[in-house]
């Protein structure tokens, strides 16, 4: 929706814009990609984006697992949702970098950690590619149309606050992340035969992916805080956890933070209030 709102903002300024998600299983919390192309004339290409001018990172945790600046054009800029200052962030290269604590803005204004509207304010401040007024219009059109005017207004407000709080600076990067060829994962890069049969075909070895590599725990904003004193070992949390990442031990419950997505169902179900969701 952020990519669409950005396209809408650019269109409101008289430009031509297209926006699309990286088509797959999108859901809140999971790492997803979305793209926006902006030009002053009709855009013909229908390809994916390989060389972006700007990169927007909604979850700082991704910096640890994804080379977010891959393909970034010289002179491009990176916008990161972070409490840190731009100078403290290492994306692997020297680049113009802006940060804003979009999660806090979203929690203040929207009461939920949906950072996609706030981050657009930061993008506007960092790049000037579209004005904050157009961003507000774009958000009203996309969020407002779909979720109602009030929701649209709240999201536009979040963008404006994030715009005011954004810090623009420079990042000097040194760390090295493994490069992949394309946005599309290459089957040859997947771990082999962990969860099923691997096939040796003419096209090379084809194997299933593995959650051993894919730590979905990075999706969460809130995590469960467990109080062993209050726990009665009723096992409700273990029973209700949709991810199966609560384990029953002799005298306490154990939480697997590698896969806990922070849904909060355990805290909600716990009759003894032994689990609290904290940021």
């Amino acid at each position: 929706m952020a990519a669409q709102a950005l396209a809408s903002a650019a269109h409101a300024e008289g430009g031509y814009a297209t926006a699309f998600p990286f088509f797959g299983a999108e859901r809140r919390g999971a790492p997803v990609l979305a793209f926006t192309r902006i030009d002053d004339k009709r855009i013909y290409r229908k390809t994916q984006v390989y060389e972006p001018d700007f990169v927007v990172v909604l979850d700082e945790g991704l910096l640890e697992t994804v080379n977010v600046v891959e393909g970034l054009k010289d002179g491009g800029a990176v916008v990161v949702n972070s409490v840190r200052s731009p100078e403290e962030i290492d994306v692997g290269i020297d680049a113009k970098l802006a940060t804003v604590d979009a999660t806090s803005v979203a929690l203040e204004v929207l009461k939920r950690p949906a950072t996609n509207s706030s981050i657009l304010g930061a993008l506007s401040k960092a790049t000037g590619i579209v004005s904050i007024e157009s961003i507000e219009k774009g958000i009203m059109q996309v969020f407002g149309d779909r979720l109602g005017e009030k929701v649209g207004e709240r999201n536009a407000k979040a963008a404006r606050i994030a715009y005011d709080r954004t810090v623009v600076g420079e990042s000097h990067g040194s760390r090295v992340l493994k490069a992949s060829n394309k946005w599309l994962p290459d089957v040859r890069e997947l771990p082999m035969g962990v969860a099923g049969i691997s096939l040796d075909t003419d096209a090379g070895a084809v194997g299933p992916g593995s959650f051993l590599e894919n730590k979905t725990g990075s999706w969460k904003v809130f995590h469960p805080e467990y109080d062993g004193e209050k726990c009665t070992m009723c096992n409700f949390c273990w029973f209700y956890c949709p991810e199966g990442c609560i384990y029953r031990k002799e005298d306490r419950m154990e939480f697997d933070m590698d896969y806990c997505k922070g849904c909060g169902i355990c805290a909600n179900e716990c009759p003894a209030e032994a689990i609290k969701m904290v940021r």
């Binding site: 669409q4 926006a19 699309f20 998600p21 088509f23 390989y50």
Partner: protein, 393 residues
């Protein structure tokens, strides 16, 4: 006219509303779902005066559309992939009964393996179902073609159903600026539906689509074949009138670009055409004589138009987002038939299957191969599986 950023799915739903479709029966399937959701919203908001029939499958959806259309109302539906496959049995019934049903088909790969991304292999089995089929390459065209589809489909001359095809996600879920047509203008372009054949009317009882013995079957088939041939003229007229009224000329049967002095021409369907358009501009700027034919209508197939272009060029490539196993791309097979007897190098590029990206580099690769064939007159490899691991390029 309002210019709005919207998805291909919205454009399709909006087009059906402005065409005043009176009955919609559809079953949701990724990536078509938003089309029926938007239509439900239009009806709920009172913007669209339409009977929405909730059904339990695509088989029933098409059956309901056939019945509704046979009772004399304008009907619309939408589907994708497995949904289209489930409709298969009813599709020739719609065309055989000469019902102008219009359907948006969001082209998605067909299982197995399961894949939700773009591929034309879902519609290819419906090639001979008697449906007129048009492929779009942008969201503006999607909206416009829904309106044109009714104009083409309705009336005695054609009276056949039309499938308006759009690539999964690349159009269905991508937003682009679209000039949304106002109701007055749409009404002027698509006049009120007046059925041309016998209709299901309790006051004037008739039976349609009934048991037909060998004595009549050949004639029925011949009439449908003739109707499909007549569609060529109707398609040209629908495009001309549309261009005059709205100022947008989508090209009719085909949309050639820079072919007049071209040495190498690529024939594409769907969104690959749009990407190829950019590559043609880029290569032309470097003095390379390349051209593009956007194959818009797949049925009826523009054999003569393509042959006329083929006679003037030195090599033709056909890009297929589908495969007929063991023989090649369906569009390639059709094209070779159209240019039968011509001494012309023809190459087939199969790519973009199951949502694999068709990049600018891919299109450049195809043109380079074609220019080489144009220069030498020799086709080194007739069928190329683009960027496929383990397959020689």
């Amino acid at each position: 006219m309002v210019s709005k950023i919207c998805t291909g799915n919205y454009a399709a739903a909006y087009g059906s509303m402005r065409s005043r479709a009176r009955t919609v029966a559809a079953y949701p399937i990724t990536p078509q779902t938003f089309i029926v959701e938007h239509i439900s919203e239009f009806i709920n908001n009172g913007e669209m005066d339409c009977e929405y029939i909730e059904v339990e499958s695509e088989h029933t959806a098409m059956s309901a559309c056939v019945s509704a259309s046979a009772s004399g109302v304008r009907t619309f539906t939408a589907t994708s992939s497995q949904g289209l496959a489930l409709m298969h049995e009813i599709l020739p019934i719609a065309s055989g009964m000469r019902l102008p049903v219009v359907m948006a088909v969001v082209n998605r790969s067909i299982a197995s393996p399961i894949n939700i991304w773009v591929e034309h292999n879902d519609i290819m089995p419906e090639r001979d179902s008697g449906w007129i089929q048009v492929f779009c390459d942008n969201n503006q065209e999607v909206q416009d073609m829904i309106l044109q589809a009714y104009r083409i489909a309705e009336g005695k001359r054609v009276a056949l159903p039309v499938a308006v095809c759009l690539d999964a996600f690349i159009l269905s879920h991508t937003v682009e600026p679209v000039d949304l047509i106002e109701q007055d203008a749409a009404d002027k372009y698509v006049p009120e539906f007046s059925p041309t054949g016998a209709i299901l009317d309790p006051d004037d009882v008739a039976a349609v689509g009934v048991f037909t013995p060998p004595d009549y079957m050949m004639e029925c088939r011949w009439q449908t074949d003739k109707a499909m041939r007549n569609a060529v003229e109707a398609i040209g007229e629908a495009n001309e009138v549309f261009a005059k009224q709205f100022g947008r000329d989508h090209g009719g049967m085909i949309d050639p670009y820079m072919v007049d002095d071209a040495e190498a021409v690529l024939v594409t369907m769907g969104t690959a055409s749009s990407t190829a358009h950019e590559v043609v501009d880029e290569m032309r700027a470097k003095g390379k004589k390349v051209g593009l034919v956007k194959l818009r209508f797949w049925r009826p197939y523009p054999s003569e138009l393509l042959r006329a272009i083929a006679e003037k060029v030195k090599a033709v490539g056909v890009f297929d987002r589908a495969v007929s196993y063991g023989i090649g791309g369906p569009s390639y097979i059709e094209f070779r038939n159209a240019v039968f007897g011509l001494d012309l190098p023809v190459m087939n590029f199969i790519g973009g299957l199951g949502g694999r990206d068709v990049s600018l580099q891919d299109v450049r690769f195809m043109y380079e191969k074609l220019l080489e064939a144009a220069r030498t007159g020799v086709v080194k490899r007739d069928i190329t599986w683009m960027g496929t691991r383990g397959v020689e390029q």
